[in-house]
């Protein structure tokens, strides 16, 4: 939690997601045990299905693994929340120039979703950046081969939590120039 009032809304959403996940896990665990416990007790012995104790132990472990994986999915959901909400993005764009709903829909109709892991390079040397990114938080940096370090270029973190990529790189990095070939990346 920071001093941003929107954190309260995020906290409520997080609480709801946790509760939903808890119900998921309860249903999964109950359903799993309802099926496997009678099986382990030998209900289907007459049908020729008998569970060996070793297999029973494995299935017991699988139950725990399923619940754990499901719980980890909550974390995945949280890390994917770097996409600004529709209202955030609309408000952000309108702070520059008033556009109407149809223009906004026209703009967002062409939006595509791309997945990146933290620190992954968006543009590598020799490429031109040909995409405009909308994210919530991030630091745009350049990796310089010459001085062997990352340099932060822009900190596009807007108080409204809608975020915007700053520019297209219109020209190819020149490998022969004294300027190091830039590698633009977003650390998300």
């Amino acid at each position: 939690m920071n001093s941003n009032p929107k954190d309260v809304a995020n906290l409520i959403l997080f609480g709801k997601a946790t509760y939903k996940k808890m119900i998921h896990n309860l249903v999964w665990a109950t359903g799993y045990n309802v099926i496997t416990l009678p099986l382990a007790a030998g209900v289907l012995y007459n049908a020729g299905i008998m569970l060996r104790p070793a297999m029973g132990a494995v299935l017991m472990s699988v139950s725990t693994v399923v619940v754990s994986i499901n719980a980890r999915m909550l974390n995945l959901k949280r890390t994917n929340s770097n996409v600004p909400s529709t209202m955030d993005r609309f408000d952000f764009l309108k702070s520059f120039h008033p556009i109407n709903n149809s223009d906004y829909e026209l703009l967002t109709s062409k939006l595509r979703t791309k997945t990146f892991v933290k620190g992954e390079h968006l543009v590598t040397p020799g490429q031109i950046q040909k995409e405009l990114y909308f994210i919530k938080t991030g630091v745009q940096s350049v990796t310089s081969k010459r001085i062997q370090k990352h340099m932060s270029l822009l900190l596009p973190i807007i108080q409204t939590s809608a975020l915007f990529q700053d520019h297209f790189l219109h020209s190819l990095p020149q490998s022969t120039s004294s300027i190091p070939c830039p590698t633009v990346k977003w650390s998300v």
Binding site: N2, S3, N82, V83, P84, L93, F96, H97, I99, N100, D103, L106, L107, K110, L111, R112, T113, K114, T115, F116, K130, E131, L132, Y133, F134, I135, T137, V139, S141, K149, H150, M151, S152, L153, L154, L155, I157, Q159, F164, Q165, D166, H167, F168, W186, S187, V188
Partner: protein
Amino acid sequence: MECLKYEDLQTIYDLSQQIERLFRKINERLLAGILNQYMELRAMTISERFRAFCNRSPHLLQQVPHKYIASYLDIDATNFSKLFNTIKY
């Protein structure tokens, strides 16, 4: 992350003058910001740069890891830490 292809954006510009105007204003703001940062890097001392940053975007001190801010302001991590400790809340 959500992205918009350069070619798609050019098509949208042709369809809507308002969106073209929106992006023109965004680019103006961006250019002004970049020139401002360029001027700060060339003309100001590290303490002046740090003070200007704190006045302009104090919230970023809480939201962005300090190593990135130090790099952005072209201030050595040690000096950044000293400057940061001079802030009185």
